[in-house]
C-alpha cells in the first residue's frame, strides 16, 4: 500500500499544491489533501491554535487536525524563504513547530526546510531531503520527480496567469474567467485569503454573480511586480508583501481596472505595513474606488455584504455619472 501523505489546505496550498502533489506522486506516495475549509475545520483550528495568531494560521491548524486519521504523514514544510534574498513571514518558518506543539494526535510531520534565501538551487537539496523522509534516496528518481513537478508548477502558474483562479484549477472546475460585465477590479491579498472561499465568504462567487471580473496579484507578470517594487525606498524583503505592493501599484496605474479590493487578515504582520503603504498611495495619488476588508474568525457575513454592495455601487456610479462634470469642475464621484 502506498504511503498516504496529507497536505493541509491552508497557507500556500493554493500556490504550491500542484508542485507538491506531482513530486510526491512521482515518488509513489498517495496524496491526500484536506477538504475545503468548513466551519468545523475553522472551529477546531481556533480551538488548538494560540489565540493571537492570525486567521490563516488558525485555519491551517484545523486542516492539519482534519488529516490526523487518514494519513501516515502530514506535509508541513518549513517555508523560510521561497525566493532569493527574500523571506515570507516568520510564521511560515515556525509553522511545523506551531502545528506540532498545538494540535494533538497527529501522525509524524514532514517538516523539510525550504530556504532559498541564499540561492534558488537549494530547492533541489530541500526536495532530496523530503524524499529521504519518505525513504527514497535514488537520485535519478528524485531528479525526475523534481523536473516533472517543476514543469507542472510552471503550467499551473501560466494557467493562473491567463485568468483562472487557483481554487478553480485545483478543485476541478477549470472554467476560464469569462464573466460578462462592466467592471474589472483588482483583488489584492495573500493567496490563503483570496482563494479560500470559506475564509473570504465566497467573494469570487459574489463578484461573478454581479458580473464583476477580477485580477489577482498572481495574474500580474512577476517582472512588473519586481519593477514596481523598486519604487520603494528600501528593498522589500518579504515575497508576500512584494506581490501585494507590486500588484496593487500596477493595478492602480492600469486604466482597465476600475477599482481595488484589499483583503487582509486581522493581526497579519506584513499587511500592517504593506496595506498601510498601498492605502496611503491610493488615497494620495489615485482616485479609484478602494476598499479594505479585514477578516478574522467571525463568520457572520451581513456587515461584509453591506460593504461589498457599497463598493459595487461606487463602481456603478462611476459608469453613469463619470462624465457628469459639476459646475466647479470636478466629477461628482472623483473624491
Amino acid at each position: 500500500m502506498p504511503v498516504r501523505v496529507g497536505i493541509p489546505r491552508g497557507m500556500y496550498f493554493y500556490k504550491y499544491y500542484p508542485f507538491a502533489k506531482t513530486f510526491l506522486e512521482e515518488l509513489g506516495a498517495e496524496v491526500v489533501p484536506s477538504p475545503e475549509t468548513t466551519k468545523e475545520i475553522l472551529d477546531s483550528g481556533v480551538k488548538f491554535c494560540i489565540d493571537d495568531a492570525c486567521l490563516p494560521v488558525k485555519v491551517y491548524h484545523g486542516h492539519a487536525y482534519k488529516l490526523r486519521d487518514n494519513t501516515d504523514f502530514i506535509l508541513v514544510p518549513r517555508l523560510t524563504s521561497v525566493s532569493q534574498k527574500e523571506y515570507i513571514c516568520p510564521k511560515f518558518g515556525g509553522l511545523p513547530e506551531m502545528v506540532k506543539y498545538s494540535v494533538p494526535d497527529l501522525p509524524p510531520l514532514i517538516d523539510t526546510e525550504v530556504n532559498l534565501h541564499r540561492s534558488q538551487k537549494d530547492l533541489k537539496k530541500a526536495l532530496f531531503k523530503l524524499g529521504s523522509a519518505l525513504k527514497i534516496k535514488n537520485p535519478l528518481r528524485l531528479n525526475n520527480a523534481y523536473n516533472k513537478a517543476l514543469a507542472e508548477h510552471h503550467s499551473f502558474k501560466s494557467k493562473v496567469f491567463e485568468g483562472n483562479t487557483p481554487n478553480q484549477l485545483i478543485n476541478g472546475a477549470a472554467a476560464k474567467n469569462k464573466i460578462e460585465g462592466n467592471h474589472t477590479i483588482g483583488v489584492i491579498g495573500h493567496p490563503y485569503l483570496i482563494y479560500d472561499s470559506f475564509v473570504n465568504m465566497k467573494l469570487f462567487k459574489k463578484l461573478e454573480d454581479w458580473g464583476i471580473r477580477f485580477v489577482t496579484p498572481e495574474m500580474v507578470d512577476p517582472h512588473i511586480i519586481n519593477e514596481r517594487c523598486n519604487e520603494l525606498s528600501k528593498r522589500m524583503f518579504w515575497s508576500s508583501g512584494k506581490s501585494l505592493i507590486g500588484g496593487a501599484l500596477y493595478m492602480m496605474d492600469n486604466s482597465n481596472i476600475d477599482g481595488l479590493l484589499l483583503m487582509t487578515a486581522f493581526g497579519c504582520g506584513i499587511d500592517s505595513l504593506a496595506v498601510e503603504y498601498i492605502e496611503s498611495i491610493a488615497r494620495k495619488t489615485y482616485s479609484k474606488p478602494f476598499i479594505i476588508l479585514s477578516l478574522d474568525e467571525h463568520t457572520g457575513d451581513a456587515g461584509y455584504n453591506t460593504r461589498l454592495e457599497a463598493f459595487k455601487s461606487l463602481l456603478d456610479w462611476r459608469l453613469t455619472d463619470d462624465n457628469n462634470i459639476s459646475s466647479y469642475g470636478r466629477s461628482v464621484h472623483s473624491y
Binding site: 516568520p90 510564521k91 518558518g93 513547530e97 506543539y101 526546510e113 528600501k234 504582520g269
Partner: protein, 365 residues
C-alpha cells in the same frame, strides 16, 4: 546636526556615551510616557506592533526639543523591524516634519558603501575616534548590566523597598545631565555604592522569575508596565534574559571579531526550533530552557500584540513548560495600558509559583 534616537531601555545611556565621546551633539528623547505613546499611535498604522508606535512618539518629542537627525538600526527581515525606518520616515514627512533626516544603519553585508557613508555622516568623516568611543560605550553597557543585576538582587530583599525606587529614579533624572562615558561611568558607580548601602534582609529567600520574550518589550520598562519593578516589589528576584550589552555583543562584537552570534542560544533551542525564523524566537526558547535548568521558579514571556516570531515561540513554550516543569505566563502588551489587569495576573502568577514551592518543600519533609 543634532542627533536623536529612539528609546530602548538603557540603550540611551550607552548611545549617549558614544556620541558624547565622539563629540557629536545629541538629544535624549524625553522618557516614554503615556502621552508619548498616544502621540505615536495617532500617526501609526493601526495594526503595527507596539515598539513602532512608541518610537514614533519618541522622535516627535525629540524633534520638538530641537533634534533634526534620527539614527536607528535596520535589518533585512523577516521581522517587521527591518521596515520601521522607511515607513516612519514617510509618516513623519506626511505629518509635517519635513526637514528631519533619517540615518538607517543596515547591516554592512546589505550595502557596504551606504553603511560606511552613514557612519561618516554621523561622525563627520572620522573613523578612529568612533572606535575608541564604541569601546567606551560597550564598557558603559557592562556597568549598566552590573548595576541592574544588583538591583534585581536588592529589590526583593530590601527592608525599605522605597529606598531602591528613590535611588533608581534619581539615577534616571541625573543621567541626562552628565556628559561622556567617564562621567556616566562615575554616576553609575556612585549609584551602585548607594544601592549597596541599603539595609537588606539576607535571610529572605525570594522566588526567582526569568523574563523572556521580544527584546524591545522586555528591555523598555514603560512598554511592559515596569514588570521588573512590580515583581521585585512583590518580593521576587527577577532576571531579564536580554540586555543592551547582549545585543551589542551579538550584533557588533562577535561578527567583528569573526565569531558566530548566539551560538549557545541556537544550541539550546535546536530540539524545539531548529531554524532561524527572525526576531528573537530562538533566543526566547533558549532562555526559557536556560532559566529552567538554573532552577528558576517561573518565567514571564512578554511580547507586543501580533509579534510574528514570538507567536511561534509562544506555541512552543507549553512544551517546555511540560518538559522542564516550569510555569510560564505570557503577557501581551499593546497601547491599551489597563495596568490593574496586568498586576492581578502577575500577583496570581506569583501566588501560583509560591504554592508550587510550598508543595515541593512539604514533599521533601
Amino acid at each position: 546636526m543634532i542627533i536623536t534616537y529612539p528609546h530602548m531601555g538603557e540603550a540611551y545611556i550607552a548611545i549617549k556615551a558614544v556620541l558624547d565621546d565622539i563629540g557629536v551633539e545629541s538629544i535624549v528623547p524625553a522618557y516614554t510616557t503615556k502621552a508619548t505613546m498616544q502621540l505615536g499611535s495617532k500617526l501609526s498604522p493601526e495594526s503595527i506592533c507596539l515598539p513602532f508606535k512608541i518610537m514614533l512618539g519618541n522622535y516627535i518629542n525629540a524633534i520638538k526639543s530641537g533634534a533634526d537627525t534620527i539614527i536607528i538600526t535596520g535589518s533585512c527581515g523577516p521581522c517587521r523591524f527591518g521596515y520601521y525606518g522607511p515607513i516612519q520616515k514617510q509618516i513623519l514627512e506626511d505629518a509635517g516634519y519635513k526637514d528631519v533626516e533619517f540615518i538607517i544603519l543596515d547591516s554592512p553585508g546589505e550595502d557596504f558603501k551606504k553603511f560606511i557613508s552613514s557612519i561618516a555622516r554621523i561622525t563627520g568623516g572620522r573613523f578612529i575616534a568612533p572606535i575608541r568611543a564604541l569601546r567606551a560605550g560597550y564598557k558603559v553597557c557592562c556597568e549598566i548590566d552590573k548595576m541592574n543585576e544588583l538591583v534585581y538582587y536588592i529589590r526583593p530583599r530590601a527592608i525599605n523597598k522605597s529606598q531602591v525606587k528613590a535611588i533608581t529614579h534619581s539615577f534616571r533624572s541625573n543621567i541626562v545631565n552628565v556628559k561622556g562615558s567617564a562621567q556616566i561611568t562615575e554616576l553609575i558607580r556612585d549609584t551602585v555604592n548607594k544601592l549597596k548601602a541599603i539595609e537588606l534582609d539576607t535571610s529572605f529567600e525570594p522566588l526567582k522569575i526569568g523574563i523572556i520574550g521580544e527584546i524591545y518589550t522586555i528591555i523598555e520598562p514603560f512598554s511592559n508596565l515596569e514588570t521588573e519593578e512590580k515583581l521585585g516589589e512583590l518580593g521576587i528576584e527577577v532576571h531579564r534574559s536580554m540586555t543592551v550589552k547582549d545585543w551589542a555583543d551579538n550584533t557588533i562584537v562577535r561578527p567583528v571579531t569573526g565569531r558566530k552570534p548566539y551560538t549557545k542560544e541556537k544550541r539550546l533551542s535546536k530540539p524545539y526550533l531548529p531554524a532561524l525564523i527572525g526576531g528573537h524566537a530562538q533566543q526566547c526558547i533558549a532562555h526559557a530552557i536556560q532559566y529552567a535548568k538554573h532552577g528558576y521558579d517561573g518565567l514571564v514571556q512578554i511580547y507586543p500584540m501580533t509579534c510574528m516570531p514570538e507567536i511561534v515561540s509562544r506555541s512552543i513554550l507549553p512544551q517546555i513548560e511540560k518538559d522542564y516543569n516550569i510555569p510560564i505566563l505570557s503577557l501581551i502588551v499593546d497601547e491599551q495600558t489597563g495596568e490593574a489587569g496586568y498586576v492581578t495576573r502577575l500577583e496570581a502568577f506569583v501566588d501560583y509559583i509560591s504554592g508550587g514551592r510550598e508543595q515541593a518543600k512539604a514533599a521533601i519533609n
